[in-house]
Symmetry: C2
Subunit: 352 residues, 2 copies
């Protein structure tokens, strides 16, 4: 028997961290030591993992020592600073932030789609895609393998937990204030109630509202998340010239992102064949019986692992295009689960 | 001086009817008598219009007599039955239901886009488009006039009031129950709370959820509202071969529909020119300064007349395509206002 590799969970106290501790407690126990790290603010807190109490340590040079694999679940600037330190101290890093997703020397990996890419990691770092990309890529990747993808037009319905625990707290307090009012549909009502609760990290109220923005401003009116969807999809599918047009919209849902996908392929598609592919692809669940109310919604999908796909239709004016509605838990497959899958594949290397 | 024409408001007690009474009280007073009709259930109720109390009468042969213009704001089956009766009794009907929207002998009219069409009405009926079509068509029509529209890929974020007053009541009670719970993001929580409140007219919970469905099942997995968007847009823009792919999604917003629009044109587009067009088109407001939080959201738009447009971007992989986010009040321009505008144009015929 070889020794089991040691794991560090950096950012164990965050929204993604909390789900990671659940996943580590549920999955097969491939790890030796599991060390929980966060900012000095959290040092001394006690969290449960694998049924045991575990004290949170402050992230630092020392606390990164003796670790084989480090899961980084922290803001991008923290990853940018500390992931190279973890590598220098001997760990392989799996990073869930945006810090390295477009670094050509860092593979961007979705185990169901491009698992091989994780083996070549010149910087000792593997990146996990953005939660919005992850919500669609297992389904889109499977269809690409059959039909050859040429173009995507994507619109998102993103849950607030994608912005972290502060965003969840903001929507909760907005909702309780809004529910306490008469909930009139006159213009002032929602604004007023939400004004008292505060916008949290958002530029507009989210209770009883939607907001066409996610991320930070990029060039020519695009948001960073819209460009990220394009760049990441191109990298993961190895289609550097793929046409992608995305609009990211935040909705008043706590957890689970949804997307509408218009996918144009090289070859003609049929709904029957698309159903077969989606029903048999790893990490994908087909749920497509709209006449009986059979379609995925965030309330169905939250807390589950796969990408759910429904509303599969062939475009009426283009025999090569499919319309889909996809839905996935942004904290599980969208973040913690994908990183855990990558880390487990790396752990398997240790026993070879 | 010619006499002012008499108006009947059929469905005065509904969600659209309530907004119609507001609009009739705010707009220039072009009407003589205004008669309020609804089902026998509402007969005897008293509603205010133009600052006066007015008793609701039951819809019937007699109560439709002596009317010049009849605004029908009732379910499609009621319009199908009674609009021809109103015409036979001498009225011009403006119908806001789906009953006649695809009838080749009934013009489908948006005054900012195809006002001329309202003059030719072989059946004596003019139809107003679906609220989702109306939320985008003033903006898309203006861009079409300049660039020549070839294709639309559209995703909707539809408010519950688009389904009428019962839908609004359902979301309100779902929200107050959900806000009373711990609002956990565990799968059961929302479902459980909503189970008690009831789904109303919907196939899934809408509090803290989104639902990829609007309308009734049509062929090949499409919903009636998705097909309606395609058929109506083709008719209004007189582009019978326009490529349209739509996915309709309901969101937990009380009033104001939003849509993402990917519009591909014959000619190359620029954001600058698109901005100029949108800023100067009737019935359209440009609100596009995302770096300072400048984009339309339902909370900004509810209670206002125009179609608001933001997030204008040229597709990165196609110089002929624009991305837009549009937002409009489904009860105003989406229903009552558009019908009122059509009726006012017809009223003007009476004074010529
Ligand atoms: N939420 C999602 O759906 C999602 C999906 C995909 C990717 N991601 C990415 O995953 C990362 C974590 O997201 P989240 O939603 O979990 O955020 P979050 O809820 O705000 O949690 C942030 C975590 O980072 C830790 N942290 C912050 N500053 C630190 C520092 N200077 N040193 C050490 N630890 C620090 C926090 O520790 P303290 O408790 O001590 O402050 C906390 O554990 C982000 O990069 C995010 O973009 C998130
Ligand atoms: N809501 C929107 O955003 C929207 C947008 C565009 C188009 N529309 C269309 O506009 C129409 C009205 O929609 P809504 O949302 O206002 O619906 P609603 O809130 O359910 O109101 C329905 C109205 O129709 C009346 N009605 C029902 N059955 C009747 C009958 N047998 N005889 C006479 N009156 C009858 C009701 O009167 P009682 O009070 O007496 O029952 C009520 O005034 C529908 O065709 C809808 O598709 C709605």
């Amino acid at each position: 028997m070889t020794r089991k590799p040691a794991l560090a969970v950096v950012g164990a106290t965050g929204a993604v961290g909390a789900v990671m501790l659940e996943i580590l407690s549920q999955h097969e126990n491939v790890w030796g030591e599991i060390r929980l790290l966060a900012s000095p603010r959290s040092a001394g807190r006690v969290l449960a993992v694998r049924g045991e109490e575990c004290e949170v340590l402050a992230l630092g040079e020392e606390t990164l020592g003796g670790v084989d694999v480090a899961l980084f679940l922290v803001p991008a600037e923290v990853s940018a600073r500390w992931a190279p330190v973890a590598v220098a101290r001997g760990a392989v890093v799996v990073d869930s932030s945006a810090a390295f997703r477009l670094d050509p020397e860092v593979p961007l990996v979705v185990p169901e789609v491009n698992p091989h890419a994780a083996r070549i990691r010149p910087r000792g770092i593997v990146a996990s895609p953005h939660d919005t990309t992850l919500a669609m890529i297992p389904a889109v990747g499977a269809l690409h393998a059959e039909f050859g993808l040429r173009e995507l037009v994507v619109s998102s319905y993103q849950a607030v937990s994608g912005e972290g625990r502060d965003a969840v707290a903001a929507l909760r307090s907005q909702l309780s204030l809004v529910a306490g009012t008469e909930l009139g549909s006159t213009p002032g009502d929602v604004r007023r109630a939400v004004g008292e609760a505060g916008l949290g990290p958002f530029a507009a109220p989210l209770a009883l509202n939607v907001m066409p923005w996610a991320g930070v401003p990029a060039d020519d009116g695009w948001s960073s998340e819209e460009l990220g969807l394009r760049d990441e999809t191109r990298r993961i599918l190895d289609l550097p010239a793929l046409r992608v047009a995305a609009t990211c919209v935040r909705v008043p849902v706590l957890t689970a992102h949804s997307l509408t996908v218009h996918a144009r392929f090289e070859r003609e598609v049929t709904v029957e064949r698309a159903h077969e592919i989606l029903a048999t692809s790893p990490g994908v669940v087909l749920y497509d019986d709209p006449a009986s109310g059979g379609f995925p919604t965030p309330a169905d999908v939250v807390g589950t692992d796969p990408t759910w796909v429904g509303r599969v239709r062939r475009a009426l004016d283009d025999p090569c295009a499919l319309e889909l509605f996809v839905c996935g838990d942004n904290l599980r497959k969208g973040a913690a689960l994908n990183s855990a899958q990558i880390a487990e594949a790396i752990a398997a290397e240790f026993s070879r």
